[in-house]
Amino acid sequence: MTNVLFHTEELEKCWIDCTGILKSYFQNIIDYKFDLAGQSTEKLIKFVNDYENLNSIGHPDKFYNDCFIFKEYANLLSSYAQYWSQICSNKYEQSWDTLQDILDSLRNIKKFTLFDKTILFKFLEKQALGLEKLYPYRFFASTEIVVSQIECSICGKNINSNECNHIKGELYRGKMAYGIVKEIKDCLAIALVENPADKRCKMQSLDGKPFKFPCVEYLTKLILTQKINPLYISHAEETIHRIPIKDSKIGRNEICPCGSGKKLKKCCINKEFAQKNHIEIILKKDGILTSNDLISLN
């Protein structure tokens, strides 16, 4: 491996050729121009596609796998720009799905490279996992199905047979193998789980009312007023605030500070403290990431 992201010198060279596009992408994020940043990633994907097509003959598998990684990296940057653009347009439900795209790209890149050792990866991982906490989604739908025929996306043969050597989720000449379910025999259940394979299958609230996104709305305000830049946000932390009840001046008929919406006399009046869930957006202590942090592969 020549650096943390690529296994071939060709793709390392391609990366160097893209430095200008990468710098422009991050500058647009710093300038809150998220749509323009998204356009930079389209250029990046086109650049890698053209590079792959021009050099498509006579290369070992690792060349194509490197092209996959580069495209996944471009997808990551594209989703990141799209996420902040959606936040600024109050598209909170869609932004959750885009956040999952960011996390999936991070998983794919980590799986096949050493990119997780870089400052940028650590920053994006911590931030994306923290941003998840700002959303109201806690349970997800997970299907329990019985299948009989699954076709391999690489060779087209039955992925569950001795004829197919491809392992699901692995790279083969720049393509990830996956199984295409050809026959579902039975759907046994749809379970409510905390750790599904896909968090995009989010549940609506049981009372049928749409979810509210107060924490994300707060974040939106901070971004729209340019008080904080996305590259300045470290993560979010869930904490519990303890609000003293005994000897406090809160009246019996006032709303309880725990956030239940009930009057104090019908809620935490006999407790020493009312406990309120609290989410804090934590900023980076050492300021915004430097240009070197953002594009370095060492």
């Binding site: 998983r107 299948v147 009989s148 392992i167 046994l188």
Partner: protein, 155 residues
């Protein structure tokens, strides 16, 4: 919510099918099981991925899969290894090490807060007794179980 690791190791009376394999065959047998929601037997979702990985990375261990057309797909972020019988030439420590390597392979793209939960049940012969190791828990917990099991056998 963090789930606890559950581990049991018990002496059991194996089924005839299981007994035949353990006494007379080499390698490992990946068995179908009854799902609590279904009458017919099904193979767990990681059966074929695990079998392929074993064949490619641990070719010294022969892998046999029970014939069964039904595979249960849970779409969860967990690893469900099928019920496994160990044959005459596969010692438990050797097998647990292979499973651990497989789990590290599967979870290598996990982010810091991703679940790395695994479900595993192995039936094997220990001297003249038949035992079942049943584990549901984290990768870290599995590593501890693996180490303590190997240590107790070595002693």
């Amino acid at each position: 919510m963090e789930k606890k690791d559950n581990y049991t190791l018990e002496e059991i009376e194996p089924s005839q099918n299981c007994l035949d394999f353990i006494e007379n065959s080499e390698g490992v047998f990946l068995s179908a099981e009854k799902n609590f929601r279904k009458e017919n037997e099904v193979l767990k979702q990681d059966t074929f991925k695990f079998a392929k990985w074993m064949r490619q990375n641990k070719p010294e261990i022969k892998v046999e899969i029970e014939k069964c057309n039904n595979i249960i797909n849970l779409r969860s972020h967990e690893v469900w290894i099928p019920l496994i019988f160990l044959g005459t030439n596969v010692a438990l420590p050797l097998f647990l090490n292979a499973v651990y390597d497989y789990l590290k392979f599967v979870f290598r793209g996990n982010l810091s807060e991703d679940s790395s939960r695994v479900h595993l049940k192995v039936i094997y012969k220990d001297k003249e007794k038949y035992k079942e190791l049943d584990y549901n828990g984290s990768l870290e917990g599995f590593e501890k179980i693996k180490k303590s099991t190997i240590d107790s056998i070595v002693k």
